[in-house]
């Protein structure tokens, strides 16, 4: 929403430390009336909502924006930069008329650091003291009116979980129009001359704004700060030997001194000064050197069990609904190209998008619970050292393991990783984990080349091969991460300095909001790309050059076929020949020389092309090529494929060498348009999915090649 379109509407920003209960407050204030998007150019979630305020002039609508959590106005990550720009750049489209600062009452000292910085920017501020219930439990007493006096802004006590104080907060938002009269920290003392001169150049009259501006000159993009002024400012800073970092350290120390004085006056702390006892006890168990890992494994096991069990049912329902929808459409529209496009192109594409919803919703529900309870940061804590060796982060564990279900939600969950390099590596290697779409391909291929009753000691060999494929995927992911750690250049410093929040019960409403939010984001952003690619693939596999398709149909209208074959058999033969002479078929044939070293023929080539939509399409394409009219029946496809003879050599096509070569190809190659779409969405560049496609392709090609020539 641009500011100009709503000139008279009040713009309110919500700011606070991470874990301060900011999102819960946002949800309580706006309800389901939210718009979710992205801040332009970066992968930072942007949430906006509407807020109804009672004013003397009647009800007034205000827009509320949820800015990313930050600890100070010295940004150290992209998230924090977004918050910084919105608050410090008056030309920014999200620059607020009023800022609500959410402070964690149990962590008041640290919260007041950010809070006092924002107050010193001289903008209207309301301070919301959140988690008052917990503070009372810890016997922390806060004198709100004293605090309000010391800061010069209204202070509202709040319990966002229970919804207490929300109405009072709304009243305060409606009433507050003035900024604080006093400077909490006299920044003028730190670099007096410089600040006065900065104020002249950039035409601001607030000392702290001038200081912050000089401190973050390379980040801020003030419109009214043209390059001349910027150069002038830089000269000025050089002249005064303005050492941004030293001054920042000095400012932080001085600010904390003032805060300590304020705390002295307004806070009375009871006995339990250390972190609370329950958290201490739970930490002893959950970060224990044995039990910590055992519990983590059990938690993971439960999550994946429930994803596989519970997501399977709605996924089945969604698939059935779309099947019915396409049958209905086919019956009610005249046959022809247009209907075919709608049914096999668009509806099939939409179905391919919708089928991910249950998995995404469930995985993010679990992630929200893990985050909300405070357990997630403990997982990072116990896994960090292990993961760091491979260029990953303690937080990479969840995306990597979620990749076993599906790379799409897994890559979306990598957003929690703050460090750019570690996040990129996680995104790049996650699709190597064997996802559930590979399972039908593996099952079919294993049944082709490994006898059902083969035993290795008392283990079933088919099962062992399947397990080996999962293990190979995992090892490839770890190995690629290790390689990328060396290659990738990082722009930002990696920090692991982070809060371990106290354990809490999950806020179920938040869990619900997160589910809705993630599904929306996936549908709106990745969904478009997926539908577009599936329409392209549909065109490729349902059209051929010239009138080759018509000739196939003509051929099967001849009496000799009609008398010999049933209608279903004829339909299957037509489908098979059409696919062969379609553009996809031609591509399959064209690439045969390239894939022959891997042991693949053009029929497999066609499947490789159509599998770009999704890996499991392999099975369907194989059944079309081998004109099996019952695609659900794996056994009949298997028999056809087993019987296939290579016309050149007179040998079977699907030898163990070909089977294993193909399995490895599917284990490594990036054959999933949904993943490609999500990687683009999460990285904002086509560069990354392209690199990923190429490196995984090379990995697939080389390993298939080696295994084929080894086994041949």
């Amino acid at each position: 929403m641009s500011k100009n379109s709503n000139q008279n509407q009040l713009h309110v920003a919500l700011v606070g430390n991470p874990n301060s209960g900011k999102s819960t407050l946002f949800n309580s204030l706006t309800g389901l009336n939210q718009k979710i998007g992205n801040f332009p150019g970066v992968t930072v979630d942007k949430k906006m909502g509407e807020l109804l305020l009672d004013t003397p002039n009647g009800k007034v609508k205000a827009t509320l924006i949820d800015l990313p959590g930050t600890y100070s106005l010295y940004p150290k990550s992209i998230d924090e930069e977004v918050a910084f720009q919105a608050l410090c750049d008056p030309e920014n489209e999200h620059f607020p008329d009023l800022t609500v600062i959410v402070a964690d009452a149990t962590n008041l000292k640290r919260s007041l650091f950010l809070c006092s910085q924002i107050i010193d920017l001289k903008m209207p501020v309301v301070l919301a003291l959140n988690m008052m219930d917990l503070a009372e439990k810890h016997r922390i007493q806060i004198d709100a009116s004293q605090l309000s006096q010391a800061l010069g802004v209204p202070v509202i006590k709040l319990n966002a979980r229970k919804g207490e104080g929300i109405e009072e907060l709304k009243v305060a938002i409606a009433k507050t129009t003035q900024h604080s009269k006093t400077d909490i920290l006299q920044i003028n003392k730190i670099a007096p001359e410089t600040i006065e001169e900065i104020k002249k150049i950039v035409n601001v009259n607030c000392d702290f704004s001038a200081f912050i501006l000089a401190n973050n000159l390379n980040i801020i993009s003030l419109v009214n700060l043209n390059s001349d002024k910027k150069a002038a400012l830089q000269r000025l800073l050089d002249h005064h030997q303005f050492d941004a970092k030293k001054l920042q350290a000095l400012e932080s120390i001085e600010r904390y001194k003032v805060i300590a004085e304020i705390m002295e006056k307004v806070v009375k702390e009871g006995e339990s000064k250390t972190t609370n006892l329950r958290t201490k006890k739970l930490d002893k168990l959950l970060t224990h050197r044995i039990w910590g890992y055992v519990i983590f494994l059990v938690v993971l096991f439960l999550i994946f069990q429930s994803i596989f069990t519970f997501a399977a049912i709605p996924m089945e329902v969604i698939e059935q609904l779309f099947l019915q929808l396409s049958a209905f459409t086919q019956n009610h529209l005249p046959p022809g190209m247009f209907t075919d496009l709608i049914v096999n192109g668009i509806i099939a594409g939409l179905s391919g998008v919708a089928v991910f919803i249950p998995q995404i919703a469930l995985l993010f529900a679990f992630i929200a619970i893990l985050e909300d309870t405070g357990y997630m940061s403990r997982v990072s804590f116990i896994m960090d050292k292990l993961m760091r060796k491979f260029g990953l982060n303690g937080k990479s564990v969840i995306p990597l393991i979620s990749g076993v279900a599906c790379a799409v939600p897994a890559i979306m969950s990598a957003r929690n990783i703050g460090n750019w390099k570690e996040r990129m590596i996680t995104i790049m290697v996650t699709p190597l984990m064997s996802c559930s779409a590979r399972l039908p391909v593996y099952t079919l291929l294993i049944s082709l080349v490994v006898p059902e009753d083969a035993r290795y000691y008392f283990f079933n060999v088919q099962g062992l091969v399947l397990m080996a494929l999962y293990l190979i995927g995992f090892l490839a992911a770890i190995f690629s991460a290790w390689v990328m750690r060396v290659i990738l250049r990082s722009k930002e410093k990696s920090y692991f300095i982070m809060e371990l929040p106290v354990y809490r019960m999950p806020r179920w409403k938040n869990v619900g909001f997160t589910m809705v939010e993630k599904v929306k984001v996936f549908l709106l952003d990745a969904g478009k790309v997926i539908v577009a690619i599936s329409v392209i693939l549909w065109v490729l596999s349902s059209y051929g050059p010239g009138n080759s398709f018509k000739e196939i149909e003509k051929k099967y209208e001849q009496v000799e076929y009609k008398s010999r074959l049933t209608d279903a058999e004829i339909a299957a033969f037509i489908a098979s020949e059409k696919l062969e002479s379609s553009y996809a078929g031609l591509v399959g044939k064209k690439i045969e020389p390239a894939i022959a070293p891997l042991g693949f023929d053009w029929k497999i080539g066609i499947s490789l092309v159509t599998s770009l939509a999704a890996r499991e399409v392999f099975v369907g394409t194989m059944s079309t090529i081998y004109s099996v009219n019952d695609a659900e029946n794996t056994k009949s496809i298997r028999e056809k494929m087993l019987a296939e003879i290579n016309p050149k050599t007179g040998q079977k096509v699907f030898t163990p060498a070909v089977g294993f070569s193909l399995m490895l190809f599917y284990a490594f190659a990036m054959q999933c348009m949904s993943t490609i779409a999500v990687v683009y969405r999460e990285t904002k560049h086509w560069k990354w999915p392209l690199i990923q496609f190429v490196y995984m392709g090379v990995l697939a090609y080389l390993s298939s090649f080696l295994v084929y020539w080894w086994l041949k």
Binding site: K109, I253, S377, F381, F496
Partner: protein, 81 residues
């Protein structure tokens, strides 16, 4: 003798004196680790790294390499209570 935060054992308390890495110190400072503040090493991760300290009433985790940039003075056992 100069001691740093990475040298503490579990349960030991110390006073923060200064920092050896300016860049890193900025992050520590905004998180409330200011010179003069008393911190306690609460937990060491099972593999020996990272560690978690309590500061200003909350738990803060960090890698050992990061903790090594914080210069501290151990408090004697009697002050520890």
């Amino acid at each position: 003798m100069v001691e740093n935060l990475a040298e503490l054992t579990e349960g030991e308390s110390a006073r923060i004196l200064s920092f050896t890495d300016l860049e890193m110190s900025l992050k520590f400072l905004e998180m409330g680790c200011i010179p003069g503040e008393i911190i306690t090493l609460e937990r060491i991760a099972p593999l020996g790294d990272p560690i978690a300290i309590s500061v200003a009433g909350y738990l803060l985790s960090m890698r050992r390499s990061e903790a090594a940039t914080v210069v501290i003075k151990r408090l004697s056992a009697s002050q520890n209570k």
